[in-house]
Symmetry: D2
Subunit: 150 residues, 4 copies
């Protein structure tokens, strides 16, 4: 059993830049920041006790990405050590908007907002976020004040 996440401190995942991440410009290929952001969201959920594969098998719930916005501010290179943050910005009954940032030391490399929606893994239709997950990430049972229609 883990405690609900403190919504005021972002979760941080360290990760390393490998050859696979770079392109012929000598820097990290921009699409790969979406992978970095997702790894961080996955580990943030795991830190709250939620494994997505287990959740899917138990409830049929799966997350899909609805909207992404990423601003690229400085390049990263092979062997750089990055930190990627996760912070819930808005939460609704069926979707979350997550603010994310990638840092190398105190240099902000990229930041963005990722909106993810909960769907049924068979039909891909929107569904309510399972209560065990909502509780794990600290959402009130009726949804938070910033609740959106998703």
């Amino acid at each position: 059993m883990t405690a609900a996440a403190d919504p005021t401190t972002p979760f941080r995942l360290p990760l390393r830049v490998y050859w696979e991440d770079t392109d012929a410009g000598g820097i990290v290929f921009y699409a790969n920041y979406l992978k970095y952001f997702e790894r961080a969201r996955t580990e943030w959920l795991r830190a709250q006790g939620v494994g997505q594969q287990a959740l899917r098998e138990r409830t049929g719930a799966m997350f899909v990405v609805i909207d992404t916005r990423v601003r690229y501010r400085a390049p990263a290179r092979l062997d750089d050590l990055l930190h990627v943050t996760v912070q819930v910005r808005h939460a609704g009954k069926a979707a979350l908007t997550i603010a994310q940032q990638a840092w190398r030391g105190d240099t902000l490399l990229a930041d963005g907002e990722i909106r993810i929606g909960c769907v049924d893994d068979g039909t891909l239709r929107p569904r309510r976020i399972p209560s065990e997950l909502a509780a794990a990430i600290g959402l009130p049972a009726d949804g938070p004040p910033t609740q959106e229609r998703a």
Copy 2:
């Protein structure tokens, strides 16, 4: 020698969904639409007579991505045939904003805006878009009316 692109009709690239593009949700992994969009921008430039590798070798100019915004509207699956469009929305002296869409038949799967900046490939500092490229994609010598500071 090719004619300058007609800015009123989007360029269209057909492409096929392969195993590499999908994820365990059974659909195209969302980050891969950034790859699809880039393939389309590359072929759009090539259709205007501009090869990026040759341009870089000749001028030292290279494009980097500054900002991406993508909305995901419907999933694509293995073997789907998609069409990806390219249309210049804003053009400045050193950056372009490109509107892009991915379609399967008449179903819009994803759309977004990608902002790319021209940089020196050694320093990665912003530089003016080479005149041969500006001419090829139909930008006036002084930049278009929608010119931005990049």
Copy 3:
């Protein structure tokens, strides 16, 4: 309805090198040749009238890769136009070994053998290649002379 493939002439797929394919060495990242080879196998099957998604939905049969061997002979770069070939080397009741090559003009860039096995998509257990597929790619009903036990 398409004719069975001529086993003496390799199938050829043209493809272009994009930014996504390259790494900070300035060349195509070696793992991506496995993607190129797979795109070619997919189009080779499609040219025989076999779509893998449709086949899976109809029969529950799916291919998985059992073994790969790739030799890298010369690098490819951004914007290069490649041709990737497909030729069946051995065929068994439940597996195929495919010889593949990637060329740029008359320069051989990479070649290898990919062994793929037919499995049930639920259990991932080996199963016989569906007869419609075996017929489409020119395998005799009892398997070819080079038949292997898979």
Copy 4:
């Protein structure tokens, strides 16, 4: 300063399977094991005090992959925790053959041999492995008994 690696015990890197690694078969896409293997080789080098980006900047030496052989024995799925091993099998003046395995607990998922060659990063021509790297990974100055001509 780190001690030379013990050649009798493989280096082990833990890593997690994310959405980006999977395909529509519900399992890790086979090409991605080459990425896993490379991450492990990179961390093995780093554990000996060798950063590839720093080495390249200092000496102009870079590794390229010459040959890969991978056998796939069991599938991995989203959220699986893997361990990837690295062990030098043969070492020459300009190339190394590395044996690698991916495990989930005591289940062997994939294993293979990766042959990498040292090249000049400008010309991509083969060159001798820099002595600082050879020393770091425990190769004798004249090469080991299993030395190959590379």
